[in-house]
């Protein structure tokens, strides 16, 4: 074999190896990179949403509707609209604090300590779930555990392990839509390995430039019943929200 010929072979082999490596990298990206894309899709804009929770318990189901004003990840204000018993109840979240106001008592109460683990309106969501505002990538180390199809969509299966600190769920397993970067399914575990909660996205809609889960079923694994369906009825992005809404005075 002549010397130029040998050089051509070496160059071709090197290029081929690089191409194979690049292709492999495209198919199995870094877990943190996927998680970053998930965080980016979840967004942190100002938005106003109207939603319903259909809470399915052992005695039947009931529907609670609410409107929320959300500013970034740290501030949110929610007012419950229905049923009549809950109407006028408000919640204000500022950073890591959560207050609730009930018109019947005319009292504003700080939800703290073990109360954060209580259910919101009897649903499968806890106040702690509502309080979660940090990016997943900041809270968890992620590794890609595999690939699966879920509802016809190709997904990465990620295993997330807490980076430490006070966190509601030590470990999570999430199924991320490979094209939309929406979490389609999730299992949340305690440090002991006990399954605490599952979520399952039943509908995803394109809103503005992102994919938004508009129908999600939350299931507290420690409760009976078939879970709580959270339905986004409307969502307005980049809405003008007056700053005074995010003060305790606005609760009354």
């Amino acid at each position: 074999m002549t010397r130029p010929m040998r050089w051509w072979l070496v160059a071709a082999f090197t290029l081929l190896s690089a191409a194979v490596a690049a292709a492999a990298g495209a198919q199995a990206p870094d877990g943190a990179a996927v998680l970053r894309r998930v965080d980016e899709n979840m967004g942190a804009d100002n938005k106003v949403t109207t939603s319903e929770m259909i809470i399915r318990g052992r005695r039947g189901s009931r529907t609670v509707s609410s409107q929320s004003w959300i500013q970034g990840r740290a501030k949110s204000f929610t007012e419950y609209l229905d049923p009549p018993r809950e109407k006028g109840t408000k919640m204000l979240k500022l950073e890591d604090q959560l207050w609730t106001y009930t018109p019947a008592s005319d009292r504003t109460i700080l939800i703290s300590g073990h109360m954060l683990r209580q259910s919101v309106m009897g649903s499968d969501l806890s106040y702690e779930d509502m309080m979660e505002d940090q990016r997943l990538v900041e809270l968890y180390d992620a590794v890609i555990a595999g690939e699966e199809r879920l509802g016809g969509r190709p997904c990465w299966v990620l295993e997330l392990t807490s980076r430490g600190g006070d966190i509601a769920y030590f470990r999570r397993k999430i199924w991320v839509d490979r094209e939309r970067f929406v979490v389609l399914r999730e299992e949340r575990f305690a440090k002991s390995g006990k399954l605490l909660k599952t979520t399952e996205v039943r509908n995803v809609e394109r809103m503005k430039d992102r994919w938004v889960p508009t129908r999600v079923n939350f299931k507290d694994a420690l409760k009976d019943g078939s879970g709580t369906e959270f339905i986004v009825k409307s969502m307005e992005f980049n809405a003008a929200i007056p700053e005074h809404l995010f003060t305790k005075a606005s609760l009354r």
Binding site: I55, G57, R58, R59, R62, R85, E86, T89, T100, T102, A104, S105, D106, R107, T108, I109, L110, M115, Q118, S119, V120, M121, G122, S123
Partner: protein, 424 residues
């Protein structure tokens, strides 16, 4: 014969003093132990019944499975109609609905902000309705320390120590933070009408008592209740009758197998009471066996020593023609006399101490302050007719056994060798 034995026992104190003292001690301890356990168990049963279990209790089937957690989401519905059915079918009992719940009591400052909070064990009872048995059952009139009983809607009682810790008294506003039957947050204001002390650590630690209609409103439990308690009117718990009542109710209403169908359970079937009462019975039995064994060993030894000392006497009696059996029986009869006299004296002493413990009791409040079991702080002995006879069981049994074993030596004395023994 008896006179002969008595004379022997009285004139020869060394023959009777140690066995008598042993029997007195054993019988007295048996009577005191029996009366004390009896009293402690009665306290547990009565306190538990009044505050928690009733003599019988009706809940939903699902609630009964998780009763320790007082799961109000599994509460009984249609309680007014069900209570009417119970009153009609079982008129010998008083029926009263209750709701137990947990939560926080939050005391606001002048601006309405939280000044202080504390965890509370809530009890909703039929408090304001005229003719309700609850005031008597919980002895509420005597339990009031400050203020008065609730007379108007929205008024509650707080346990006195809890109210003191929160810095509130009658007239203060207290906000209950809890959960409705459906799990929604409850934030409801109440007015403290008074403070109470029951002398039951589990209740006095941090309890709130309110009228059941107020709490139904707060907890979104219209015409519902966690449990309906039944109490035998003007009488203590009767196990057999409770079992019959529960069987009759469950037989009549057992057709509905749904998880919210009503189910009646007896006091014994709740809170591990059956296990506790069985344990108490085992303790009685063990105590009796223990005293019988220990006293028998002591009396056997006393009998052996006595036999050595009375070696000559037995020899002469045998030489005079008294047969072995008659001598052996006279020894046992001696034992029976000592046993009877000792048991009578021991029972008298035991009863005296038991009556004292029944009247004064022991205050175990400091030991029970973290207890979850509902029992009065002051435990008392309880003297029953059985207390008068229980001391005779170890007293007579031990003397009989002791004499029977130690007296066997009589049969080893051979009449043919007696003359030789006397020569020695």
């Amino acid at each position: 014969m008896i006179r002969f034995l008595l004379k022997g026992l009285l004139r020869d104190r060394s023959r009777s003093l140690l066995p008598f003292t042993t029997v007195v001690l054993g019988s007295a301890l048996t009577v005191i132990g029996f009366s004390w356990i009896n009293g402690a168990m009665s306290s547990m049963i009565e306190s538990g019944a009044r505050f928690s279990t009733g003599h019988v209790k009706v809940t939903s089937r699902a609630y009964a499975k998780e009763a320790d957690q007082a799961p109000n989401d599994l509460a009984l519905a249609g309680v007014r109609a069900l209570t009417a059915v119970l009153a009609r079918e079982f008129p010998a009992l008083d029926w009263t609905p209750r709701i137990t719940f947990g939560g926080l009591i939050d005391i606001p400052d002048e601006q309405g902000e939280t000044r202080v909070q504390g965890p509370v064990a809530g009890l909703a009872i039929d408090l304001r309705r005229p003719g309700s048995p609850e005031r008597g059952l919980l002895n509420l009139d005597k339990a009031v320390v400050r203020g008065r009983l609730p007379a108007r809607p929205g008024e509650i009682l707080l346990s006195d120590g809890f109210a003191t810790r929160l810095g509130v008294g009658p007239g203060a506003t207290a906000t209950l933070i809890s959960a409705t039957m459906y799990g929604s947050l409850v934030v409801q204001n109440f007015t403290v009408a008074g403070t109470v002390r029951f002398g039951v650590a589990a209740m006095d630690r941090g309890a709130m008592i309110g009228d059941i209609e107020d709490m139904r409103g707060a907890l979104d439990m219209a015409d519902s209740a966690g449990e309906i308690l039944g109490f035998f009117r003007d009488s203590p718990y009767r196990r057999d009758e409770a079992v019959r009542t529960a069987a009759a109710f469950n037989g009549a209403h057992g057709g509905d197998a749904g998880e919210f169908a009503p189910l009646m359970v007896t006091l014994h079937e709740q809170s591990g009471l059956a296990r506790m009462l069985d344990f108490a019975t085992q303790v009685y039995t063990l105590m009796l066996v223990f005293f019988i064994l220990v006293m028998s060993i002591v009396l056997w030894n006393a009998g052996l020593m006595s036999s050595l000392r009375r070696y000559g006497e037995f020899g002469i009696r045998l030489a005079l023609g008294e047969d072995h059996g008659r001598l052996y029986r006279s020894l046992i009869a001696e034992g029976a006399v000592v046993g009877f006299a000792g048991s009578a004296a021991g029972t008298a002493i035991g009863l005296a101490v038991s009556y004292y413990l029944q009247n004064t009791g022991f205050n175990l409040g400091s030991m029970l302050k973290d207890a979850s079991i509902i029992v009065t702080d002051v435990l008392r002995a309880r003297v029953t007719p059985a207390s008068y006879v229980i001391g005779f069981v170890p007293g007579l049994a031990a003397t009989f056994l002791g004499k029977a074993v130690s007296g066997i030596g009589i049969y080893k004395r051979e009449t043919s060798r007696l003359a030789k023994e006397f020569e020695g």
